[in-house]
């Protein structure tokens, strides 16, 4: 009897520890990212992604880390490598699930990375794709604050020279902040970023 109990306990423990191992790994990776160790963080996410095929989050964060790194990177060849890496990670999840709103927000962000890196070459080419990806993200989840804000933010970025009316866009930013405040992430590691930037944009918008 004791043996059976021990085995069951061990089994539960290992289950629990498997759970915590994922949490530990994710927590550690977020820690590295916060410290600015992008390569290390991205690589830990890669290891987690290789071991945990059931969660889209590790690959999602690989894509996010590498894409956001582009916004501060100047070397064009490096930008290409970062975005390729981000796209590969995203593709791995897109194949499994085409109905996740967050993945389309990520796709829009990668395309934005190309536009920011070389607006003259890529502006015309990727703008349509950015908007299309946000439209899909919104169709899948109209209350995704990142989709609502991202779409408005991208158009505001171009408004300086396209002369688009910013008023409805600012209204969208306001709406997204409301959505951000009501947003409850599905798991502790699910995407929840974006509120700070939305508030920043709200200040300059009007």
């Amino acid at each position: 009897m004791t043996k059976i109990i021990t085995i069951i306990t061990l089994f539960i423990c290992s289950l629990l520890s498997a759970q915590t191992q994922f949490e530990q790994g994710m927590t550690k990776a977020f820690g590295l990212w916060k410290e600015g160790k992008n390569t290390e963080a991205s690589q830990l996410f890669e290891r987690i992604a290789a071991a945990e095929k059931n969660s889209y989050l590790p690959n999602y964060y690989i894509a996010l880390i590498n894409t956001t790194a582009v916004f501060t990177e100047k070397d064009k060849t490096k930008i290409d490598l970062l975005l390729t890496k981000a796209q590969d990670a995203l593709d791995a999840e897109m194949i499994k699930d085409q109905s996740n709103s967050e993945l389309y927000v990520m796709q829009a962000l990668i395309y934005t990375g190309y536009v920011v890196a070389d607006p003259m070459t890529n502006g015309m080419k990727y703008s349509g794709k950015v908007m299309e990806a946000y439209a899909k993200a919104k169709a899948l989840d109209p209350n995704n604050p990142r989709a609502v804000f991202g779409e408005a933010d991208y158009q505001l970025g171009g408004a300086k020279w396209t002369g688009v009316d910013t008023k409805p866009l600012c209204a969208q930013v306001d709406k997204s902040i409301e959505l951000f405040n009501n947003f409850k992430p599905a798991t502790p590691f699910s995407p929840k970023w974006g509120l700070e930037r939305a508030l920043e944009i709200q200040k300059t918008c009007k």
């Binding site: 191992q21 890669e46 290789a50 349509g128």
Partner: protein, 717 residues
Amino acid sequence: MKTRITFILLLLSTFTFAQNIISGKVTDPKGKPVVGANIYIDGTYDGATSSETGEFSFETTETGNKFLVVSFLIFETFKTEIDVANYKNQIIKLRENMNALDAVVITAGTLESGDKARVSVLKPLDIVTTAGSAGNIVAALQTLPGTQSVGEDGRLFVRGGEANETQTFVDGIRVAQPYGATTNNLPTRSRFSPFLFSGIAFSTGGYSAEYGEALSSVLLLNTQDEEDHEKTDIGFMTVGLSLGNTQKWNKSSLSVNMMYVNLAPYQAVIPQNVDWNNPYQSLGGETVYRYKFTNGIFKLYASFDSEKFDLNQKNVNFENPIRTDMNNNNFYLNSSYKGSIGPGWQLTSGISYGYSKNKLKYDITGIDSQENAAQLKLKLSKKVSNYFRLSFGSDYFITRYNEDIASTTAIQNGYDSNIFASYAEGDISFSTKLALKVGLRYSNNSLLNENNIAPRASLGYKLSKASQFSFAYGDFTQTPVVDYVKYSKYHQFESEKARHYILNYTFSKPGQLLRTELYYKDYNNLVQYDTRDIQYNSVFNNNGSGYAKGFDLLWGDSNLYKNLEYWISYSYIDSERQYKNFPSMVTPSFVANHNLSVVTKYFITDWKSQIGFTNSFSSGRPYNDPNQTQFMNGKTKSYNSLSFNWAYLLTTQKILYFSVSNLLGTKNVFGYDYARNPDPSGVYQRQAVIPTADRFFFVGFFWTISQNKNENQLKNL
């Protein structure tokens, strides 16, 4: 008691497992440390990132034999089985990944534009925003080195080759009639609007064994795989109207473009050098349908064109101008499938059909001609390893041509041609620095009753991160042009032949490109005849020959000044031929020794405008003056044309576009037509071949209606 021991043992073992340290060093093939590689035990979180010295060390709770994985973007991923307890201070040498972004690409002969091009000469947008191109793909390509701008013809002349020596392919399948209808000394333009193509590769020689029936050059146009979104485009121009619409579904999309051109209002306002009875009019349309399967993509491309014009041209042989009345109908259909079939295998197949009907009335002579041309194509390629790729395939070309001439007597000419061809080609990567491509093309031509074998080879060697050499060699054959082979029932023609040698040096950095090329081209088996004009009773032979040698230079830069882009292209060519009815080896009239183009584009953010200038210069071209004893002894004055364009964004979706060619109104002369017979004083009179108008003005308004407010038609201009 037992349980307790098990428990302690378990605890102990976890303790001892944690003691396993994996350590070592990651290097590149040369032994230099690799910084930032990801080293881990497969299926676990245990791992590390290599340091500045390439070293790594981490602890693991795993035991026994496990797989250790080392990955880094530009190297092949390394995987090996290790004993976790005994893996310390090991050196891991990574192999180069042949698909890496900076691997050598063979570039000899090829000028590419598009997303996938590794060494992109032009961006897709450039084709259409080049001043002076007026949306004509061919006109934009004429600003690149290796081409000759032949103003009275309008087609692509490459490296001393005639225009028909260049073949056009859409999605890998030949287009039998790539140009619009034209007549004596009136320039034509490409039938294709740049709108539907995402990639353009233009090869000025030494191209792959996949392509045949082209002596000089191939122009490869690829339609877009995917449309961005649904939209409607409307254009109002001084020369006509255009309308386009794109619909998109889950897995498929359909684009349709229609264009109506009528030059009558324009020619009423702007003085012309030509007397038009009925100005140029055309109605045309193009459509692309795409369907995406899980493993491949199916595309259907169709276009039709109906053109007509009627004009009186002065002719030095006659007192009164000669009337030319032209009607042309053209249809082209192309369907292709491209997809993967099993690991490493790729299949491309396609079929095309082209139909052209010309009704020409030249003075009192009526010439009706019809051409039906089809191609079937199948291509397979297999990636054997990262170091070797094999591709092979077959083509079948069918051409039926007939011509009815109604003059004082009725004459019929024509031919049926079937060409079967097969090819095989291997791509070998020795390292990221050295790559070789070797191919062989076999063809059987039923009309000429001959078999040909054409070897091709090219080699690329990378000197440094930014620079590389390429070398290409190839044999090329082509059926003589329709003007000859339509008399096949009177004479058995043979294929014309060329051999290319090309040496290329390319230096490229982001925003900068230097490309230089030296080439030598040898022609033989060219058709000769012994009469003034080509006639059924001319005595033909295939004994003609010729050569072309020269130097091409291209420099493009977008780093010099913010929002400014420019490129300079220069070509020097020395070419002579003895063919047609030439009495001796001379430089033909379409060859200018020096060609220089300077293209600039500048975006002014404050004005929401893009402005561009293009200057094209060519040295004089030879012409034959029968008043002189030496053949082809004359030379025209040099040619120069400065063009300007201005695109203004009214709002993001509304664009106002203005362009003018030959801004300075330079009086250009392309050549001279001499009288067939001398006048009473014994002198042959002449007439200059000049453009139909000195300047060409264009004003257009383009409006895009779509959900996405940032989309516009700038890329179409």
